[in-house]
Protein backbone atom coordinates (compact mmCIF):
# COMPACT_ATOMS: atom_id res chain seq x y z
CA UNK A 1 0.00 0.00 0.00
CA UNK A 2 1.39 3.31 -1.09
CA UNK A 3 0.50 6.63 0.55
CA UNK A 4 0.66 9.87 -1.35
CA UNK A 5 3.51 12.15 -0.38
CA UNK A 6 2.51 15.42 1.26
CA UNK A 7 -1.13 14.27 1.74
CA UNK A 8 -0.54 13.50 5.40
CA UNK A 9 2.09 14.55 7.88
CA UNK A 10 4.20 12.07 9.59
CA UNK A 11 2.22 9.98 12.11
CA UNK A 12 4.94 10.51 14.76
CA UNK A 13 4.60 14.25 14.39
CA UNK A 14 0.82 14.11 14.87
CA UNK A 15 1.09 12.03 18.00
CA UNK A 16 3.62 14.45 19.55
CA UNK A 17 1.30 17.31 18.85
CA UNK A 18 -1.65 15.63 20.57
CA UNK A 19 0.49 14.71 23.59
CA UNK A 20 1.70 18.29 23.87
CA UNK A 21 -1.85 19.62 23.87
CA UNK A 22 -2.82 17.08 26.54
CA UNK A 23 0.16 18.13 28.70
CA UNK A 24 -0.79 21.81 28.33
CA UNK A 25 -4.34 21.01 29.45
CA UNK A 26 -3.05 19.06 32.46
CA UNK A 27 -0.81 21.97 33.51
CA UNK A 28 -3.65 24.51 33.17
CA UNK A 29 -6.02 22.21 35.10
CA UNK A 30 -3.50 21.72 37.88
CA UNK A 31 -3.00 25.47 38.19
CA UNK A 32 -6.75 26.12 38.34
CA UNK A 33 -7.12 23.33 40.91
CA UNK A 34 -4.38 24.78 43.06
CA UNK A 35 -5.91 28.28 42.99
CA UNK A 36 -9.38 26.98 43.83
CA UNK A 37 -8.09 24.68 46.56
CA UNK A 38 -6.22 27.56 48.15
CA UNK A 39 -9.32 29.77 48.15
CA UNK A 40 -11.51 27.05 49.63
CA UNK A 41 -8.91 26.39 52.31
CA UNK A 42 -8.77 30.09 53.21
CA UNK A 43 -12.57 30.31 53.28
CA UNK A 44 -12.85 27.22 55.42
CA UNK A 45 -10.28 28.60 57.82
CA UNK A 46 -12.27 31.85 58.13
CA UNK A 47 -15.52 30.03 58.70
CA UNK A 48 -13.93 27.79 61.31
CA UNK A 49 -12.67 30.66 63.45
CA UNK A 50 -15.67 32.93 62.94
CA UNK A 51 -18.32 31.28 65.15
CA UNK A 52 -17.56 30.58 68.75
CA UNK A 53 -20.27 29.76 71.33
CA UNK A 54 -22.35 32.91 71.52
CA UNK A 55 -21.64 35.12 68.56
CA UNK A 56 -19.40 35.03 65.55
CA UNK A 57 -16.24 36.95 66.09
CA UNK A 58 -15.03 39.43 63.59
CA UNK A 59 -14.85 38.31 60.05
CA UNK A 60 -12.05 39.84 58.09
CA UNK A 61 -13.38 42.51 55.90
CA UNK A 62 -14.44 40.83 52.68
CA UNK A 63 -12.67 41.82 49.51
CA UNK A 64 -14.24 44.56 47.54
CA UNK A 65 -14.38 42.55 44.38
CA UNK A 66 -16.19 39.53 45.64
CA UNK A 67 -16.59 36.39 43.70
CA UNK A 68 -19.53 34.06 43.75
CA UNK A 69 -17.80 31.81 46.23
CA UNK A 70 -17.01 34.66 48.60
CA UNK A 71 -20.63 35.80 48.44
CA UNK A 72 -21.76 32.31 49.25
CA UNK A 73 -19.41 32.05 52.22
CA UNK A 74 -20.44 35.49 53.47
CA UNK A 75 -24.15 34.76 53.24
CA UNK A 76 -23.71 31.44 54.93
CA UNK A 77 -21.81 33.14 57.75
CA UNK A 78 -24.42 35.89 58.00
CA UNK A 79 -27.27 33.38 58.02
CA UNK A 80 -25.58 31.33 60.69
CA UNK A 81 -24.91 34.45 62.74
CA UNK A 82 -28.47 35.76 62.40
CA UNK A 83 -29.83 32.36 63.34
CA UNK A 84 -27.79 32.38 66.55
CA UNK A 85 -28.68 36.00 67.21
CA UNK A 86 -32.36 35.20 66.84
CA UNK A 87 -32.00 32.19 69.10
CA UNK A 88 -30.47 34.37 71.81
CA UNK A 89 -33.08 37.09 71.38
CA UNK A 90 -35.85 34.57 71.82
CA UNK A 91 -34.29 33.17 74.97
CA UNK A 92 -35.02 36.26 77.05
CA UNK A 93 -37.91 38.51 78.01
CA UNK A 94 -35.80 41.00 79.92
CA UNK A 95 -35.39 44.41 78.29
CA UNK A 96 -31.79 44.85 79.36
CA UNK A 97 -30.81 41.41 78.05
CA UNK A 98 -32.25 42.20 74.61
CA UNK A 99 -30.40 45.53 74.56
CA UNK A 100 -27.15 43.82 75.45
CA UNK A 101 -27.80 41.12 72.87
CA UNK A 102 -28.30 43.66 70.05
CA UNK A 103 -25.16 45.63 70.94
CA UNK A 104 -23.00 42.54 71.33
CA UNK A 105 -24.25 41.02 68.10
CA UNK A 106 -23.23 44.06 66.07
CA UNK A 107 -19.95 44.39 67.92
CA UNK A 108 -18.90 40.76 67.55
CA UNK A 109 -19.84 40.29 63.93
CA UNK A 110 -18.33 43.43 62.48
CA UNK A 111 -14.70 44.60 62.60
CA UNK A 112 -15.39 47.67 64.79
CA UNK A 113 -13.97 49.45 67.83
CA UNK A 114 -17.18 50.75 69.43
CA UNK A 115 -20.89 49.95 69.60
CA UNK A 116 -23.34 52.25 71.33
CA UNK A 117 -27.06 51.70 71.68
CA UNK A 118 -29.23 54.66 72.65
CA UNK A 119 -32.92 54.54 73.52
CA UNK A 120 -35.22 57.43 72.68
CA UNK A 121 -37.52 58.84 75.35
CA UNK A 122 -40.36 60.53 73.52
CA UNK A 123 -41.59 62.34 76.63
CA UNK A 124 -38.33 64.09 77.50
CA UNK A 125 -37.17 64.04 73.84
CA UNK A 126 -33.77 62.84 75.00
CA UNK A 127 -31.68 59.78 74.35
CA UNK A 128 -30.59 57.57 77.17
CA UNK A 129 -27.61 55.30 76.98
CA UNK A 130 -28.77 51.68 76.91
CA UNK A 131 -25.56 49.79 76.17
CA UNK A 132 -22.01 50.62 75.10
CA UNK A 133 -19.05 48.50 74.11
CA UNK A 134 -15.62 50.06 73.68
CA UNK A 135 -16.70 53.43 75.03
CA UNK A 136 -16.57 54.33 78.71
CA UNK A 137 -16.13 58.04 78.80
CA UNK A 138 -18.64 60.31 80.52
CA UNK A 139 -21.62 58.15 79.59
CA UNK A 140 -24.30 59.66 81.75
CA UNK A 141 -23.39 63.21 80.81
CA UNK A 142 -23.62 62.38 77.15
CA UNK A 143 -26.96 60.66 77.38
CA UNK A 144 -28.46 63.43 79.50
CA UNK A 145 -27.74 66.13 76.98
CA UNK A 146 -28.30 64.24 73.77
CA UNK A 147 -31.46 65.37 71.99
CA UNK A 148 -32.93 65.99 68.59
CA UNK A 149 -30.04 68.28 67.56
CA UNK A 150 -27.51 65.42 67.54
CA UNK A 151 -26.49 62.97 64.85
CA UNK A 152 -28.64 60.39 66.62
CA UNK A 153 -31.51 62.90 66.43
CA UNK A 154 -30.85 63.32 62.72
CA UNK A 155 -31.03 59.55 62.24
CA UNK A 156 -34.35 59.13 64.00
CA UNK A 157 -35.73 62.18 62.21
CA UNK A 158 -34.80 60.74 58.81
CA UNK A 159 -35.77 57.23 59.87
CA UNK A 160 -33.06 55.83 57.61
CA UNK A 161 -29.76 54.14 58.24
CA UNK A 162 -26.85 56.57 58.05
CA UNK A 163 -23.55 55.26 56.66
CA UNK A 164 -20.57 57.59 57.00
CA UNK A 165 -17.08 56.85 55.68
CA UNK A 166 -15.42 59.95 57.02
CA UNK A 167 -17.31 62.34 59.27
CA UNK A 168 -14.90 65.17 58.54
CA UNK A 169 -16.02 64.99 54.93
CA UNK A 170 -19.74 65.38 55.74
CA UNK A 171 -20.46 69.12 56.06
CA UNK A 172 -24.22 68.71 56.74
CA UNK A 173 -23.48 66.53 59.77
CA UNK A 174 -20.91 68.91 61.18
CA UNK A 175 -23.69 71.40 62.02
CA UNK A 176 -25.15 68.84 64.41
CA UNK A 177 -24.09 68.10 67.91
CA UNK A 178 -21.61 65.31 67.47
CA UNK A 179 -21.56 62.28 69.73
CA UNK A 180 -18.00 61.89 70.96
CA UNK A 181 -17.74 58.25 69.93
CA UNK A 182 -18.74 58.96 66.33
CA UNK A 183 -15.40 59.31 64.66
CA UNK A 184 -14.57 58.75 61.03
CA UNK A 185 -16.52 55.75 59.72
CA UNK A 186 -19.74 54.61 61.34
CA UNK A 187 -23.18 53.19 60.71
CA UNK A 188 -26.12 54.67 62.62
CA UNK A 189 -29.32 52.66 62.33
CA UNK A 190 -32.64 53.82 63.79
CA UNK A 191 -34.67 51.31 65.81
CA UNK A 192 -38.22 51.83 64.59
CA UNK A 193 -41.29 49.75 65.23
CA UNK A 194 -44.12 50.73 62.92
CA UNK A 195 -44.14 54.50 63.38
CA UNK A 196 -42.57 54.57 66.77
CA UNK A 197 -38.90 55.39 67.23
CA UNK A 198 -37.27 53.27 69.90
CA UNK A 199 -33.63 54.28 69.62
CA UNK A 200 -30.42 54.28 67.57
CA UNK A 201 -27.65 51.74 67.15
CA UNK A 202 -24.24 53.20 66.41
CA UNK A 203 -21.58 50.93 64.96
CA UNK A 204 -18.37 52.96 64.91
CA UNK A 205 -14.70 52.98 63.99
CA UNK A 206 -13.99 50.24 61.57
CA UNK A 207 -10.78 48.40 62.42
CA UNK A 208 -9.94 47.57 58.84
CA UNK A 209 -9.21 50.08 56.17
CA UNK A 210 -11.88 51.47 53.92
CA UNK A 211 -15.51 52.32 54.36
CA UNK A 212 -18.26 49.96 55.57
CA UNK A 213 -19.39 47.66 52.81
CA UNK A 214 -22.93 47.10 51.65
CA UNK A 215 -22.81 43.67 53.24
CA UNK A 216 -21.88 45.12 56.62
CA UNK A 217 -24.62 47.73 56.40
CA UNK A 218 -27.06 44.96 55.52
CA UNK A 219 -26.00 42.97 58.60
CA UNK A 220 -26.51 46.01 60.85
CA UNK A 221 -29.96 46.56 59.38
CA UNK A 222 -30.87 42.91 59.94
CA UNK A 223 -29.67 43.10 63.56
CA UNK A 224 -31.76 46.21 64.08
CA UNK A 225 -34.88 44.73 62.43
CA UNK A 226 -34.72 41.58 64.55
CA UNK A 227 -33.76 43.55 67.65
CA UNK A 228 -36.72 45.88 67.29
CA UNK A 229 -39.13 42.96 67.11
CA UNK A 230 -37.51 41.43 70.19
CA UNK A 231 -37.72 44.77 72.04
CA UNK A 232 -41.35 45.06 71.09
CA UNK A 233 -41.96 41.51 72.30
CA UNK A 234 -40.33 42.36 75.61
CA UNK A 235 -42.44 45.46 75.89
CA UNK A 236 -45.62 43.54 75.10
CA UNK A 237 -44.59 40.83 77.53
CA UNK A 238 -43.97 43.42 80.24
CA UNK A 239 -47.27 45.11 79.48
CA UNK A 240 -49.07 41.78 79.53
CA UNK A 241 -47.42 40.84 82.83
CA UNK A 242 -48.27 44.23 84.31
CA UNK A 243 -51.80 43.96 82.99
CA UNK A 244 -52.08 40.45 84.40
CA UNK A 245 -51.01 41.71 87.82
CA UNK A 246 -53.42 44.65 87.55
CA UNK A 247 -56.18 42.32 86.46
CA UNK A 248 -55.44 39.97 89.32
CA UNK A 249 -55.52 42.86 91.77
CA UNK A 250 -58.72 44.22 90.23
CA UNK A 251 -60.23 40.76 90.33
CA UNK A 252 -59.28 40.29 93.97
CA UNK A 253 -60.67 43.70 94.84
CA UNK A 254 -63.86 42.99 92.93
CA UNK A 255 -64.20 39.63 94.58
CA UNK A 256 -63.75 41.18 98.00
CA UNK A 257 -66.29 43.89 97.20
CA UNK A 258 -68.66 41.28 95.82
CA UNK A 259 -68.31 39.17 98.93
CA UNK A 260 -68.99 42.21 101.08
CA UNK A 261 -71.92 43.18 98.89
CA UNK A 262 -73.34 39.69 99.02
CA UNK A 263 -72.88 39.66 102.77
CA UNK A 264 -74.47 43.08 103.03
CA UNK A 265 -77.36 42.16 100.70
CA UNK A 266 -77.78 38.88 102.52
CA UNK A 267 -78.02 40.74 105.81
CA UNK A 268 -80.52 43.18 104.32
CA UNK A 269 -82.63 40.35 102.92
CA UNK A 270 -82.51 38.49 106.22
CA UNK A 271 -83.38 41.77 107.95
CA UNK A 272 -86.45 42.30 105.81
CA UNK A 273 -87.50 38.71 106.23
CA UNK A 274 -86.89 38.88 109.96
CA UNK A 275 -88.94 42.01 110.26
CA UNK A 276 -91.90 40.45 108.45
CA UNK A 277 -91.62 37.19 110.35
CA UNK A 278 -91.33 39.00 113.67
CA UNK A 279 -94.59 40.86 113.17
CA UNK A 280 -96.42 37.77 112.02
CA UNK A 281 -95.09 35.77 114.96
CA UNK A 282 -96.22 38.23 117.55
CA UNK A 283 -99.92 37.82 116.90
CA UNK A 284 -100.07 34.07 117.57
CA UNK A 285 -97.62 34.52 120.45
CA UNK A 286 -99.94 37.12 121.94
CA UNK A 287 -102.82 34.68 121.67
CA UNK A 288 -100.78 31.92 123.35
CA UNK A 289 -99.79 34.30 126.17
CA UNK A 290 -103.38 35.41 126.71
CA UNK A 291 -104.64 31.84 126.55
CA UNK A 292 -102.07 30.58 129.05
CA UNK A 293 -102.82 33.48 131.37
CA UNK A 294 -106.53 32.69 131.23
CA UNK A 295 -106.01 28.99 131.89
CA UNK A 296 -103.63 29.74 134.77
CA UNK A 297 -106.37 31.74 136.38
CA UNK A 298 -109.06 29.12 136.09
CA UNK A 299 -107.03 26.00 136.84
CA UNK A 300 -107.08 25.31 140.58
CA UNK A 301 -103.73 25.45 142.44
CA UNK A 302 -103.86 21.77 143.30
CA UNK A 303 -103.80 20.73 139.61
CA UNK A 304 -100.02 20.94 139.70
CA UNK A 305 -99.32 19.03 136.49
CA UNK A 306 -101.67 21.27 134.52
CA UNK A 307 -100.10 24.36 135.95
CA UNK A 308 -96.59 23.05 135.25
CA UNK A 309 -97.55 22.37 131.66
CA UNK A 310 -98.96 25.86 131.30
CA UNK A 311 -95.85 27.31 132.84
CA UNK A 312 -93.75 25.52 130.21
CA UNK A 313 -95.95 26.85 127.44
CA UNK A 314 -95.72 30.38 128.83
CA UNK A 315 -91.92 30.24 129.12
CA UNK A 316 -91.60 28.94 125.60
CA UNK A 317 -93.84 31.68 124.28
CA UNK A 318 -91.76 34.25 126.15
CA UNK A 319 -88.58 32.75 124.69
CA UNK A 320 -90.08 32.95 121.24
CA UNK A 321 -90.98 36.57 121.91
CA UNK A 322 -87.36 37.31 122.82
CA UNK A 323 -86.27 35.81 119.51
CA UNK A 324 -88.80 38.04 117.77
CA UNK A 325 -87.34 41.09 119.51
CA UNK A 326 -83.84 40.05 118.43
CA UNK A 327 -85.06 39.60 114.88
CA UNK A 328 -86.57 43.04 114.91
CA UNK A 329 -83.36 44.50 116.30
CA UNK A 330 -81.46 42.69 113.62
CA UNK A 331 -83.67 44.08 110.89
CA UNK A 332 -82.34 47.53 111.79
CA UNK A 333 -85.90 48.79 111.89
CA UNK A 334 -84.99 50.77 114.94
CA UNK A 335 -83.32 54.14 114.63
CA UNK A 336 -80.49 55.42 116.73
CA UNK A 337 -81.02 58.16 119.25
CA UNK A 338 -77.60 59.69 119.43
CA UNK A 339 -76.47 61.75 122.40
CA UNK A 340 -73.00 62.61 123.70
CA UNK A 341 -72.30 60.03 126.39
CA UNK A 342 -69.38 58.78 128.45
CA UNK A 343 -68.64 55.14 127.58
CA UNK A 344 -67.46 54.20 131.10
CA UNK A 345 -70.85 54.61 132.84
CA UNK A 346 -72.63 52.73 130.00
CA UNK A 347 -70.21 49.83 130.51
CA UNK A 348 -70.78 49.94 134.28
CA UNK A 349 -74.58 49.98 134.01
CA UNK A 350 -74.49 47.16 131.44
CA UNK A 351 -72.26 45.13 133.74
CA UNK A 352 -74.64 45.81 136.59
CA UNK A 353 -77.48 44.26 134.58
CA UNK A 354 -75.59 40.97 134.24
CA UNK A 355 -73.98 40.91 137.68
CA UNK A 356 -76.10 37.99 138.89
CA UNK A 357 -74.59 35.89 136.10
CA UNK A 358 -71.00 36.76 136.97
CA UNK A 359 -70.70 34.33 139.91
CA UNK A 360 -67.02 33.19 139.97
CA UNK A 361 -65.88 35.53 137.28
CA UNK A 362 -63.38 38.19 138.24
CA UNK A 363 -64.00 41.55 136.60
CA UNK A 364 -61.00 43.72 135.76
CA UNK A 365 -61.71 47.31 134.76
CA UNK A 366 -59.09 49.10 132.72
CA UNK A 367 -61.17 52.14 131.93
CA UNK A 368 -59.04 55.19 131.25
CA UNK A 369 -60.09 58.34 133.02
CA UNK A 370 -60.81 61.57 131.23
CA UNK A 371 -62.11 59.96 128.07
CA UNK A 372 -64.26 62.30 126.01
CA UNK A 373 -67.98 61.93 125.43
CA UNK A 374 -68.95 59.97 122.32
CA UNK A 375 -72.09 60.37 120.22
CA UNK A 376 -73.93 57.10 120.85
CA UNK A 377 -77.33 55.59 121.44
CA UNK A 378 -77.01 54.65 125.10
CA UNK A 379 -79.72 51.96 125.01
CA UNK A 380 -78.39 50.32 121.89
CA UNK A 381 -74.84 50.36 123.17
CA UNK A 382 -76.06 48.88 126.46
CA UNK A 383 -77.65 46.11 124.41
CA UNK A 384 -74.30 45.49 122.68
CA UNK A 385 -72.35 45.40 125.94
CA UNK A 386 -74.88 43.08 127.61
CA UNK A 387 -74.66 40.76 124.59
CA UNK A 388 -70.88 40.73 124.80
CA UNK A 389 -70.81 40.25 128.58
CA UNK A 390 -73.28 37.36 128.33
CA UNK A 391 -71.18 35.76 125.59
CA UNK A 392 -68.06 36.15 127.72
CA UNK A 393 -69.80 34.71 130.78
CA UNK A 394 -71.07 31.73 128.77
CA UNK A 395 -67.52 31.16 127.52
CA UNK A 396 -66.26 30.86 131.11
CA UNK A 397 -68.60 28.28 132.71
CA UNK A 398 -66.47 27.57 135.79
CA UNK A 399 -64.57 30.72 136.46
CA UNK A 400 -62.43 33.21 134.64
CA UNK A 401 -61.47 36.80 134.16
CA UNK A 402 -63.50 39.40 132.32
CA UNK A 403 -61.48 42.46 131.35
CA UNK A 404 -63.17 45.65 130.27
CA UNK A 405 -60.81 48.12 128.67
CA UNK A 406 -61.29 51.52 127.06
CA UNK A 407 -58.71 53.87 125.66
CA UNK A 408 -58.06 56.49 123.04
CA UNK A 409 -55.67 55.90 120.17
CA UNK A 410 -54.64 57.20 116.78
CA UNK A 411 -55.17 54.58 114.10
CA UNK A 412 -51.96 53.41 112.51
CA UNK A 413 -53.62 52.60 109.23
CA UNK A 414 -56.88 53.27 107.41
CA UNK A 415 -59.70 50.89 108.29
CA UNK A 416 -62.78 49.91 106.35
CA UNK A 417 -66.13 48.96 107.77
CA UNK A 418 -67.81 45.75 106.71
CA UNK A 419 -69.99 47.48 104.13
CA UNK A 420 -67.07 49.54 102.84
CA UNK A 421 -69.15 52.69 103.18
CA UNK A 422 -66.84 55.73 103.10
CA UNK A 423 -68.42 57.40 106.12
CA UNK A 424 -68.06 54.16 108.10
CA UNK A 425 -64.37 53.94 107.34
CA UNK A 426 -61.51 55.36 109.32
CA UNK A 427 -58.50 57.23 108.01
CA UNK A 428 -54.96 56.52 109.11
CA UNK A 429 -54.05 58.71 112.07
CA UNK A 430 -57.69 59.27 113.04
CA UNK A 431 -58.34 59.59 116.78
CA UNK A 432 -60.74 56.91 117.97
CA UNK A 433 -62.06 55.40 121.17
CA UNK A 434 -61.49 51.69 121.57
CA UNK A 435 -63.56 49.44 123.82
CA UNK A 436 -62.23 45.94 124.46
CA UNK A 437 -64.11 43.17 126.22
CA UNK A 438 -61.86 40.23 126.91
CA UNK A 439 -62.48 36.87 128.50
CA UNK A 440 -60.33 33.91 129.49
CA UNK A 441 -62.89 31.44 128.24
CA UNK A 442 -62.99 28.54 125.83
CA UNK A 443 -62.23 30.67 122.79
CA UNK A 444 -63.57 30.30 119.26
CA UNK A 445 -62.09 27.99 116.64
CA UNK A 446 -60.72 29.55 113.47
CA UNK A 447 -63.50 27.96 111.46
CA UNK A 448 -66.23 29.33 113.72
CA UNK A 449 -64.55 32.73 113.94
CA UNK A 450 -65.38 33.30 110.27
CA UNK A 451 -69.05 32.74 110.96
CA UNK A 452 -69.66 34.45 114.26
CA UNK A 453 -71.31 37.45 112.65
CA UNK A 454 -73.59 35.30 110.49
CA UNK A 455 -77.17 35.63 111.65
CA UNK A 456 -78.47 32.57 113.52
CA UNK A 457 -74.97 31.15 113.95
CA UNK A 458 -74.55 29.92 117.51
CA UNK A 459 -72.51 27.35 119.38
CA UNK A 460 -74.74 27.65 122.42
CA UNK A 461 -77.26 25.00 123.38
CA UNK A 462 -80.92 25.52 122.36
CA UNK A 463 -82.63 28.18 124.41
CA UNK A 464 -79.32 29.76 125.42
CA UNK A 465 -78.86 31.88 122.36
CA UNK A 466 -80.63 32.85 119.17
CA UNK A 467 -77.47 33.27 117.11
CA UNK A 468 -78.41 36.88 116.58
CA UNK A 469 -76.60 38.54 119.49
CA UNK A 470 -73.33 39.25 117.70
CA UNK A 471 -75.03 40.07 114.39
CA UNK A 472 -77.28 42.55 116.12
CA UNK A 473 -74.40 43.96 118.13
CA UNK A 474 -72.26 44.44 115.08
CA UNK A 475 -75.17 46.02 113.21
CA UNK A 476 -75.58 48.48 116.05
CA UNK A 477 -71.86 49.32 115.95
CA UNK A 478 -72.06 49.72 112.16
CA UNK A 479 -75.03 52.04 112.64
CA UNK A 480 -72.72 54.05 114.89
CA UNK A 481 -70.26 54.10 111.95
CA UNK A 482 -67.87 52.03 114.02
CA UNK A 483 -66.09 48.72 113.64
CA UNK A 484 -66.44 45.55 115.69
CA UNK A 485 -63.78 42.85 115.48
CA UNK A 486 -63.22 39.60 117.31
CA UNK A 487 -59.91 37.95 118.10
CA UNK A 488 -59.87 34.55 119.69
CA UNK A 489 -57.69 31.61 120.60
CA UNK A 490 -59.14 28.27 121.53
CA UNK A 491 -58.77 27.51 125.26
CA UNK A 492 -57.20 30.93 125.86
CA UNK A 493 -60.01 33.37 125.39
CA UNK A 494 -61.69 35.92 123.19
CA UNK A 495 -61.34 39.64 122.77
CA UNK A 496 -64.00 41.82 121.16
CA UNK A 497 -62.70 45.17 119.96
CA UNK A 498 -65.07 48.01 119.23
CA UNK A 499 -63.71 51.11 117.53
CA UNK A 500 -65.85 54.24 117.58
CA UNK A 501 -65.10 57.68 116.21
CA UNK A 502 -64.90 60.53 118.67
Amino acid sequence: MVFGKGGFSSPYLSASFIIMIIIIFIIIGTLIGLVLGYKIAIAYQRKKTSFPQEFPQQVASPPQNSSYLEDKIWYEAELNFLFKFNERLLSTFAFQNVIQCIAEAAHNFLPIERTVLLMWDKNSEKFTLAWAIGWEHNRSQESLTLGKDSISGFVIHNRKVLVVSDLTQEPYLSKLKKEEYLQKAFISAPLIFKDEVLGVLHVCDKKTAGPFTQREVSVVMNIVRMGVIALQNVRLYEQASKRAIELKMAYDELKEMQDKLIQSEKLKAIGQLASGVAHEMRNPLGIIMQGVAYLEQIIPPEAKEHRETLSMVRESAQRADKIVISLLDFSKAAKLELHPEYIGPILESSLNLVKTELKNIEVVREIKEGLPKVLVDKNKLTQVFINLFINAIHAMPGAGKLTIRTFIKHLEEARNSVDNIPESSFKAGEKVIVIEIEDTGVGISEENLKRIFDPFFTTKSPGKGTGLGLSVSRNIIIMHKGIMEVESQVKKGTRVIITLRI
Partner: protein, 125 residues
Protein backbone atom coordinates in the same frame (compact mmCIF):
# COMPACT_ATOMS: atom_id res chain seq x y z
CA UNK B 1 -119.66 50.68 141.15
CA UNK B 2 -120.21 50.47 137.40
CA UNK B 3 -117.73 48.51 135.43
CA UNK B 4 -115.48 50.45 133.10
CA UNK B 5 -116.16 49.72 129.46
CA UNK B 6 -113.26 48.63 127.27
CA UNK B 7 -113.37 48.11 123.51
CA UNK B 8 -110.72 45.96 121.85
CA UNK B 9 -110.31 46.61 118.11
CA UNK B 10 -108.07 43.94 116.60
CA UNK B 11 -108.33 41.72 113.53
CA UNK B 12 -107.01 38.76 115.58
CA UNK B 13 -110.32 37.47 116.88
CA UNK B 14 -108.80 34.81 119.14
CA UNK B 15 -106.60 37.38 120.77
CA UNK B 16 -109.62 39.61 121.38
CA UNK B 17 -111.61 36.77 122.94
CA UNK B 18 -108.84 35.66 125.28
CA UNK B 19 -107.85 39.19 126.25
CA UNK B 20 -111.54 39.89 126.97
CA UNK B 21 -111.67 36.84 129.29
CA UNK B 22 -108.52 37.92 131.12
CA UNK B 23 -109.53 41.54 131.52
CA UNK B 24 -113.07 40.70 132.60
CA UNK B 25 -111.65 38.19 135.09
CA UNK B 26 -110.77 41.12 137.32
CA UNK B 27 -114.43 42.04 137.61
CA UNK B 28 -113.61 45.67 137.04
CA UNK B 29 -114.18 45.85 133.30
CA UNK B 30 -116.78 45.10 130.68
CA UNK B 31 -115.05 44.26 127.43
CA UNK B 32 -116.48 44.54 123.90
CA UNK B 33 -114.63 43.37 120.85
CA UNK B 34 -114.52 44.40 117.19
CA UNK B 35 -112.40 42.61 114.60
CA UNK B 36 -112.10 45.50 112.16
CA UNK B 37 -111.91 49.28 112.19
CA UNK B 38 -115.45 49.95 110.93
CA UNK B 39 -117.08 47.77 113.57
CA UNK B 40 -114.79 49.29 116.16
CA UNK B 41 -115.91 52.86 115.36
CA UNK B 42 -119.55 51.81 115.35
CA UNK B 43 -119.12 50.04 118.69
CA UNK B 44 -117.28 53.00 120.20
CA UNK B 45 -120.03 55.40 119.11
CA UNK B 46 -122.64 53.06 120.52
CA UNK B 47 -121.23 52.27 123.93
CA UNK B 48 -118.89 55.26 124.49
CA UNK B 49 -116.10 53.20 126.13
CA UNK B 50 -113.76 54.34 128.89
CA UNK B 51 -110.79 52.93 126.98
CA UNK B 52 -110.05 51.56 123.55
CA UNK B 53 -107.34 48.92 123.02
CA UNK B 54 -106.44 49.37 119.40
CA UNK B 55 -104.29 47.30 117.04
CA UNK B 56 -102.20 49.25 114.56
CA UNK B 57 -101.75 46.93 111.62
CA UNK B 58 -105.14 45.76 110.38
CA UNK B 59 -106.50 45.03 106.94
CA UNK B 60 -108.75 47.80 105.59
CA UNK B 61 -109.03 50.58 108.12
CA UNK B 62 -105.86 50.51 110.21
CA UNK B 63 -105.09 51.94 113.64
CA UNK B 64 -104.19 55.39 112.31
CA UNK B 65 -107.56 55.69 110.46
CA UNK B 66 -109.48 54.59 113.52
CA UNK B 67 -107.72 57.17 115.71
CA UNK B 68 -108.43 60.01 113.32
CA UNK B 69 -112.14 59.07 113.05
CA UNK B 70 -112.50 58.79 116.81
CA UNK B 71 -110.76 62.11 117.35
CA UNK B 72 -113.03 63.78 114.82
CA UNK B 73 -116.24 62.53 116.46
CA UNK B 74 -117.35 64.97 119.21
CA UNK B 75 -119.07 62.24 121.21
CA UNK B 76 -116.08 59.95 121.57
CA UNK B 77 -113.11 62.16 120.74
CA UNK B 78 -111.81 62.14 124.34
CA UNK B 79 -111.78 58.37 124.68
CA UNK B 80 -108.42 57.16 126.00
CA UNK B 81 -106.66 54.89 123.52
CA UNK B 82 -103.91 52.34 124.16
CA UNK B 83 -102.20 50.76 121.21
CA UNK B 84 -101.88 47.04 121.41
CA UNK B 85 -99.56 45.96 118.68
CA UNK B 86 -97.41 43.28 117.19
CA UNK B 87 -94.77 45.92 116.57
CA UNK B 88 -91.89 45.72 118.97
CA UNK B 89 -90.68 49.25 119.33
CA UNK B 90 -92.34 52.58 119.52
CA UNK B 91 -90.03 53.90 116.80
CA UNK B 92 -91.47 51.37 114.37
CA UNK B 93 -94.98 52.71 114.79
CA UNK B 94 -93.92 56.32 114.75
CA UNK B 95 -91.71 55.71 111.73
CA UNK B 96 -94.87 55.29 109.67
CA UNK B 97 -96.48 58.47 111.00
CA UNK B 98 -96.66 60.30 114.25
CA UNK B 99 -100.15 59.18 115.16
CA UNK B 100 -98.98 57.05 118.10
CA UNK B 101 -97.11 59.91 119.71
CA UNK B 102 -98.34 60.55 123.24
CA UNK B 103 -100.17 57.24 123.47
CA UNK B 104 -99.27 54.17 125.46
CA UNK B 105 -98.01 51.35 123.34
CA UNK B 106 -98.26 47.73 124.45
CA UNK B 107 -96.80 44.68 122.78
CA UNK B 108 -99.29 41.89 122.22
CA UNK B 109 -97.02 39.51 124.05
CA UNK B 110 -97.16 41.39 127.35
CA UNK B 111 -98.26 39.50 130.41
CA UNK B 112 -101.80 39.91 131.61
CA UNK B 113 -100.45 41.76 134.65
CA UNK B 114 -98.76 44.36 132.49
CA UNK B 115 -101.83 44.64 130.29
CA UNK B 116 -104.11 45.27 133.26
CA UNK B 117 -101.69 47.77 134.78
CA UNK B 118 -101.67 49.71 131.54
CA UNK B 119 -105.47 49.62 131.25
CA UNK B 120 -105.89 50.87 134.81
CA UNK B 121 -103.41 53.65 134.24
CA UNK B 122 -105.08 54.93 131.08
CA UNK B 123 -108.78 54.22 131.61
CA UNK B 124 -111.03 57.27 131.97
CA UNK B 125 -111.32 58.01 135.64
Amino acid sequence: MDKKRVVIIDDEENFCKLAKKNIEQTGEFEVHIAINGDDGIRLAKEIKPDLILLDIIMPGMDGADVVSLIRSDTNIKDTPIVFLTSLVREEEASSQSNFTRGYSLLAKTVTVGELLACIKKNVRK
